[in-house]
């Protein structure tokens, strides 16, 4: 599995907040995603009803996951394809590598796949002397920069065009060193040209899957660039990698969910390409892959069923939650330290890599509720982050100072008279400490707050004192 830096979340955050280049890139989230989503939702009067329906379809599917997966497998086989059930990341990597070896493959083309990131596929294949090329423009850029994606649908969102130009000059040797690579168009044209050479030389094409359809044994990819289509069509072998909750019952069910996917993701009514692939090329077909394989990955998901985290398996990876999250918007995706950032990552990562590893992430929330508000599948993300916080507390993973603080507070809070006396004294002391300025610049034991900003000092009386006075003034009117 991919190594995580999630335990160092706090250090990561400090770095991200000081990274000016990253902050400039994150400034584009509003116009790039938020405004487009809200415009697309406004143009569709049935949008809220479509969200309810999408949630219900997925709930029905999850309640019958075994039946639908078996039907999916049966239909892939009936169409001449292969299904590989993989319990964990290591098994999935090995199955892909074996297919490559069996075909004497030298080069592997990749369409964008988060599951591939989850299982750390590229590094593994490269160690087996395979040439691996990411074909999605964003994925290609971060592959050249040796970075993980920082967003699940816009992997290079943290990169500026000048940095792309630097990577291209370094990698695409043999071209005019004085060529202009200033405009996004020039960068794209060069990437397109370079990628064409790769497309025609590929042995194996690997894509992800947005849906698997039980009724027909079909895998579906939702894309805009067309790279996924070329990847899976020009290669001799098409391998679709998907986690098992991607299955839906029918073509109609996929279509219903597709109506909320692109609108929530990029604000498009529908992506440029929605591609339904079933089996290898048929007798008489002049192009298409000779073999079709589906990697069906569990990697912890079957254990989420039947728990308070089952709802997370409805996620369709649209990224609306991170696009609207104030925390993601402040720190970007890399700070989260593993494959899935933002609110969906804060819920999913502890399930997949453990609360010991990713326990910080559910704390990275202001509980503003925006993620749940925009989630097309109505996943109660804040509620599930709270579940993780409870588990973290139960497992004694929260810092001792925090636990001690909470316990001390609980001691006083359960004794109202004592609580009133102590808070009354404390507010007067703090008020004095501010020297009448209304704020405190430094306070022992509260450095976490006062290092970065002033603490507002209590002024005058406590709430309870004010309340009692007010009641008195009204002369016991009740």
């Amino acid at each position: 599995m991919n190594v995580s830096t999630s335990p160092k979340f706090k250090e990561n955050v400090h770095g991200a907040l000081r990274d000016e280049s990253l902050q400039r890139a994150l400034g584009r989230l509003k116009s790039g995603f938020q405004e487009k989503r809200s415009a697309a939702a406004a143009k569709m009067p049935e949008f809220e009803a479509l969200r309810d329906q999408a949630r219900d379809i997925k709930n029905h599917t999850l309640e019958n996951l075994d039946h639908y997966l078996l039907k999916f497998e049966e239909n892939v086989k009936a169409n001449g394809g292969h299904v590989h059930w993989c319990a964990d990341a290591a098994e999935a990597r090995e199955v892909v590598a074996k297919i490559c070896r069996d075909k004497n493959a030298k080069s592997v083309l990749k369409g964008k796949s988060m599951i591939s990131e989850e299982i750390g596929l590229n590094d593994f294949l490269e160690k087996q002397d395979l040439k691996v090329v990411e074909t999605d423009l964003g994925e290609y850029i971060i592959q050249l920069r040796h970075e993980p994606p920082s967003h699940i649908i816009a992997p290079a969102i943290h990169v500026h065009k000048e940095q792309v130009a630097d990577s291209f000059r370094e990698t695409h040797t043999g071209r005019d060193p004085n060529r202009s690579l200033v405009e996004p168009r020039e960068l794209l044209d060069e990437a397109r040209e370079v990628m064409r050479e790769h497309f025609f030389a590929a042995d194996i094409g690997i894509t992800g899957a947005n849906f698997l359809i039980a009724e027909t044994g079909t895998s579906v990819i939702v894309t805009n660039e067309g790279n996924g289509d070329l990847t899976q069509t020009l290669s001799r072998v098409h391998i679709a990698i998907a986690s098992l909750e991607k299955v839906v019952p029918t073509l109609e069910d996929a279509s219903s969910i597709l109506r909320v996917l692109a609108r929530s993701a990029t604000g498009q009514e529908m992506s440029s390409y929605t591609t339904f692939s079933t089996g290898p090329k048929r007798d008489g077909d002049l192009d298409g892959p000779e073999e079709y394989h589906v990697i069906l990955l569990d990697n912890g998901r079957s254990n989420m069923l039947g728990t308070e985290f089952q709802d997370m398996l409805r996620c369709i990876r649209c990224a609306a939650c991170m696009n609207h999250c104030p925390v993601y918007g402040a720190v970007g995706g890399h700070a989260y330290g593993w494959v899935y950032p933002g609110p969906m990552g804060s819920v999913l990562s502890p399930s997949l890599i453990g609360v010991d590893e990713a326990g910080h992430l559910p704390n990275a929330s202001t509980f503003c509720g925006k993620c749940e508000e925009v989630c097309p599948m109505r996943i109660p993300l804040p509620k599930m982050m709270r579940h993780w916080r409870e588990r973290e507390f139960e497992k004694h993973l929260s810092p001792s100072s925090f636990r001690y603080g909470i316990k001390t507070w609980a001691f006083f809070a359960s004794k109202p008279k004592l609580y009133r006396a102590v808070t009354g004294i404390a507010s007067k002391v703090l008020g004095k400490m501010s020297g009448g300025k209304g704020k405190i610049a430094k306070l022992p034991l509260a450095g976490g707050w006062t290092d970065m900003r002033d603490l507002p000092a209590p002024e005058g009386k406590t709430f309870k004192e004010l309340w009692a006075e007010k009641q008195k003034q009204q002369g016991g009117s009740k």
Partner: protein, 234 residues
């Protein structure tokens, strides 16, 4: 590395799912599952936008396709298609050389009426313009429905810089659900082509600083030649 073989992983995964859902192995699928699979139906919420009389659906298709940067030209008969293709290519200073699908719906058109150089087959690196037929169009989002097959190789949809698609007005429907119903009617339930593709505008990307650029890895231009065959049918 995991030592479990594929079969034992399959059993283990299914076992965990059943345990989590609280049921035993070999339990038959409930009717709600078997019926959903054997006679698929549209889900209750389908946008009203495209539930219109057919001529209005054709108008909506055109409007939606244009809104995603496709161009649309209407001709009144199949015989006018080659001239429209030649006009489009000349107007945009594009090469007068095309590759068509083997399907006679496009390869059999009177191309000799034009000065275009025409060949037929799969797309290669040298093909700049393709002309393909379509299975249908969906008015709701202006999406073209393209299927792979012996007469319709898939690469023609993706490799050339310019993709020209012939669409009969009578093949335009309101929603995706109607397309699936038509496909099942033609091919039999459960029979999918290797690839069934919805195309909604030309290829695009926003991966560099979120500025939308057309023509990422697929076609830069998508031109739809709409044949108004609905009057002939009557």
């Amino acid at each position: 590395m995991s030592t479990s073989s594929n079969t034992s992983s399959r059993d283990a995964i299914l076992g965990r799912i059943r345990k989590s859902l609280g049921r035993g192995a070999g339990e038959a699928a409930p009717v709600s599952v078997t019926e959903r699979l054997s006679s698929p139906k549209a889900n209750p919420v389908v946008p009203k936008r495209a539930q219109l009389a057919h001529p209005k659906q054709v108008e909506l298709f055109e409007e939606m396709a244009k809104s995603v940067n496709a161009t649309v030209a209407m001709v009144v008969s199949d015989n006018d298609i080659p001239r429209e293709v030649a006009r489009f290519l000349a107007d945009h200073n594009l090469p007068a050389r095309i590759k068509t699908s083997p399907d006679s719906a496009v390869s059999g058109l009177p191309w000799s009426d034009t000065a275009l150089e025409v060949s037929t087959g799969i797309a290669g690196p040298e093909d700049a313009v393709s002309v393909t037929p379509s299975f249908g169009g969906v008015a709701e989002t202006g999406s073209l429905m393209l299927r792979s097959g012996a007469g319709t190789p898939y690469t023609l949809n993706m490799l050339p810089d310019t993709h020209i698609v012939v669409l009969k007005a009578s093949d335009i429907v309101g929603t995706y659900e109607e397309v699936w119903a038509r496909l099942r009617e033609k091919e039999g339930h459960g029979n999918m082509p290797r690839t069934f593709l919805w195309v909604t505008g030309p290829s695009r990307t926003g991966d560099i600083e979120q500025t939308i650029q057309l023509g990422a890895h697929g076609p830069r231009r998508l031109h739809i030649v709409l044949v108004d065959d609905t009057k002939e049918n009557k």
